[in-house]
């Protein structure tokens, strides 16, 4: 019986954090700050939701159904996949956004911009050298 209450509580916490992630997506000004809300909140919320499903599976197993153990193990696998891929995807999106020239809104410092500027200057120097050699 108390298992059910535990499942409800975990589901409520998970849904709360996922809703928070949605609000963050609407309220923040640019792609980087939106990614903050989109990765942290959804990962943390999903931990609690998968936790509640695992507890449900263990309860079914305890009551004598073998499907419960399969449910619990597969959900744990999904949790590991979420924990690995969510930050990696956010990193890929942020890097692609910066490379295609999206500036962070209201940024105090932007070290990465100086890096890409240096990179472009180096590229131009190399290109001009090549042109001169060809001449």
């Amino acid at each position: 019986m108390w298992f059910d209450y535990l499942i409800y509580i975990l589901l409520a916490i998970g849904v709360f954090f996922n809703i928070l992630g949605g609000f963050g997506l609407l309220r923040f000004p640019d792609v980087y700050t939106r990614l903050h809300a989109g990765t942290k909140c959804t990962t943390f919320g999903s931990i609690f939701i998968t936790g509640s499903v695992i507890i449900l599976g263990l309860k079914m197993w305890y009551l004598g159904s073998t499907d419960g153990s399969i449910l619990a193990i597969h959900t744990a696998g999904a949790l590991v996949a979420i924990l690995l891929t969510n930050p990696t995807g956010a990193h890929a999106i942020a890097r692609a956004a910066h490379k295609s020239g999206v500036k962070p809104v209201g940024a105090v410092v932007d070290s990465l911009q100086t890096k890409s500027l240096k990179h472009n200057v180096n590229k131009k120097i190399i290109e001009t050298k090549k042109m001169e050699e060809e001449k």
């Binding site: 963050g24 943390f44 696998g77 942020a94 910066h98 990465l112 890096k115």
Partner: protein, 172 residues
């Protein structure tokens, strides 16, 4: 050869986990075990040089124990803090963003991957890019404390907390 054996065993274990409860030999059916063995032999042969480069230091089980301790302890606490931090900023709208550079002095690929993922999931920071020669990370920081800036660099302790020490114990 040893890389091939380790990759095959890991593939086989993953296959067995995914097909739990299919039959009567233990928890698996005999067909699933045979098919899993053949598939993991093929996968182990193809990816043996991709999965394990040179060093075999991750075979040490103590490193895995430290890793589990790290995920359950400081990492989970950092993630909980991050969510309340984001909640506070969603409600009040107070942000002071910027992209800063840190140099964590980690040498292995695994270590830098773990650190970048940990940083993304912890308070107010998101890893954007990496300098592949020096392993410096570029971090989008949602609330830049301007007195910590030294030129381009920021001291690692303001962003990683104790993570870099844990990861040095795990991966180096």
């Amino acid at each position: 050869m040893i890389a091939f054996i380790i990759t095959t065993i890991l593939c086989f274990i993953t296959y067995l986990i995914l097909t739990t409860g299919s039959g009567t030999v233990g928890l698996w059916s005999i067909e699933e075990i045979l098919l899993g063995l053949i598939l993991s032999l093929i996968a182990g042969f193809v990816t043996r040089n991709v999965f394990i480069k040179k060093d075999l230091r991750m075979l040490n089980p103590i490193r895995w124990l430290i890793f589990v301790g790290y995920v359950v302890g400081p990492f989970f606490i950092g993630m909980a803090k991050a969510n309340f931090d984001v909640a506070y900023r969603v409600i009040t709208g107070k942000i002071n963003p910027g992209i800063v550079k840190i140099s964590p002095n980690l040498k292995t690929d695994l270590g830098i991957t773990l650190l970048a993922n940990s940083i993304t999931l912890t308070p107010g920071t998101l890893s954007v890019d990496i300098d592949e020669e020096t392993n410096d990370l570029y971090i989008h920081w949602i609330n830049v404390k301007e007195n910590t800036l030294k030129g381009d660099f920021v001291d690692c302790k303001y962003i990683c907390g104790s993570f870099d020490k844990w990861i040095r114990r795990i991966a180096e």
